[in-house]
Symmetry: C2
Subunit: 271 residues, 2 copies
């Protein structure tokens, strides 16, 4: 089987390196200098020539570029083409809206770093991580099985199967909302001179504040309704705490904090 990784940034680069570690050398597609660096690092074999030559194509590009890449190119008949975008419904809609003779599978690896680019990629980024595979009645079960085997060999510790819509709803909350909150949290003027006034809570809260605005703006708009809904839910909850403090209702604040603590304990059981 011939593998191609299109997009050799943090995720694509790490996929190529993880494949390499497992004994499979993929070809790569990216800007010329990135491909050169990836070849030099031994992460890929060579620059991709003819996309229709590959049996498995990982599309590790941002959503719009991923859709263009899948839409504009010809792939081998029966090839598996899998994107790794952080939103899935839009990509699915786009892919299924076109005629195709390859197998499409939507994927989303639950791994990352606060830094990007091939220079930060590493072969163990996915070790023990979860890979989400989105499926519907048009998904080829054999293609999914092949990908599962590949993902396990890359180091993924868990494969989750769900519909694209379910993925987008979950991710809006577990990841996209968290990035907005973090990005908003640092904006208080009180943040200046925080060093010495924190034991770790502030760092955890703001670790992911530095989103790449170009990538994330698109991700947010491609999953707008879900994020808006989660953001509004959070704001409503935060306003309840503000309301208690403002009105001096100590018993009510106690109740709010207790609800949160109990909810947290409940979620910890679901690990």
């Amino acid at each position: 089987m011939k593998f191609l990784v299109a997009g050799l940034g943090l995720i694509g680069g790490s996929m190529a390196k993880a494949l390499k570690r497992s004994g499979t050398v993929a070809d790569g597609y990216d800007r010329e200098d990135v491909v050169r660096a990836a070849v030099q690092a031994g992460a890929i074999g060579q620059a991709a020539r003819e996309f229709a030559d590959y049996d498995v194509v990982f599309v590790a590009l941002p959503p719009d570029a991923a859709m263009r890449f899948i839409g504009d190119n010809r792939f081998k008949k029966g090839a598996i083409v899998a994107d790794i975008c952080g939103v899935k419904s839009e990509i699915e809609r786009f892919v299924y809206g076109k005629e195709r003779d390859f197998y499409y599978v939507g994927c989303h690896p639950m791994a990352g770093k606060e830094v990007s680019g091939f220079e930060n990629s590493c072969e163990d980024l996915f070790d023990g991580a979860s890979m989400i595979v989105t499926e519907n009645d048009r998904t080829d079960p054999a293609a999914v099985r092949i990908l599962e085997t590949i993902f396990r060999s890359m180091g993924f510790g868990r494969i989750v199967h769900c519909a694209a819509e379910y993925h987008d709803k979950k991710i809006a909350y577990t990841s996209q909302l968290a990035h907005i909150v973090s990005n908003a949290y640092v904006k208080s003027g009180t943040a200046d001179g925080y060093a010495g006034f924190t034991g770790g809570s502030f760092q955890d809260m703001t670790r992911i504040a530095g989103v790449d605005e170009k990538v994330w703006t698109r991700l947010y708009f491609l999953n707008k309704e879900n994020i808006l809904s989660e953001l509004r839910t959070l704001i409503v909850h935060l306003e309840e705490y503000a309301d208690c403090l403002n009105k001096g209702e100590e018993t009510d604040l106690y109740r709010l904090l207790r609800e949160g603590r109990m909810r947290k304990e409940e979620l910890d059981q679901q690990r």
Copy 2:
């Protein structure tokens, strides 16, 4: 010098153990069973008998209990009495509102765990951490110098000096607001079944959600104005993101995310 640690929970217990590690055995004050456990663990020498016997008294109790302890007991003339509460102005107001012939110094160690109690205390909890010492024109400089030496011997890596009001403003943001956000974040119904749908952002965002509602309700009300102000600032910021998404203003969302990212980079320089 004779040391007393009043309150042998996570912080007090760790202080006693850190003192012990440095070669100083303190006496302890707490519920009988806790004191017994602390003696058995070798964290303290014995149960406190006469509070007026001690030269240095660490009051590691929740705010109300700390004020009662300081207000109701007699201490040695010239003793250093230092509380470690998470709010400082209220404690200062209380202590300075009474006649006293001991030296009071407000402290707040920037260290903790998501669990509490003596059973979770450890001698290295403060290693490399920051200790905030609050001061004003009534603070005895010699008492502060002695405490500094003790804190360094306990493992603290940094001592920060500031006014109680400044402390309360900073902590409202770096710690207290973060705990509210975390506590509110878990309340979304979407959280159920989060496992497999996160690579760490969700865990970081919600690590401190499980606050002890009894302790924290009081802490929040003792620092109400500062927290309300920070909470409202955050809500205003979050509403800006919601507004952009709602109105479909991609350029504006891009700008908001960019501002957050740049702010984060600025703060990272202040480490």
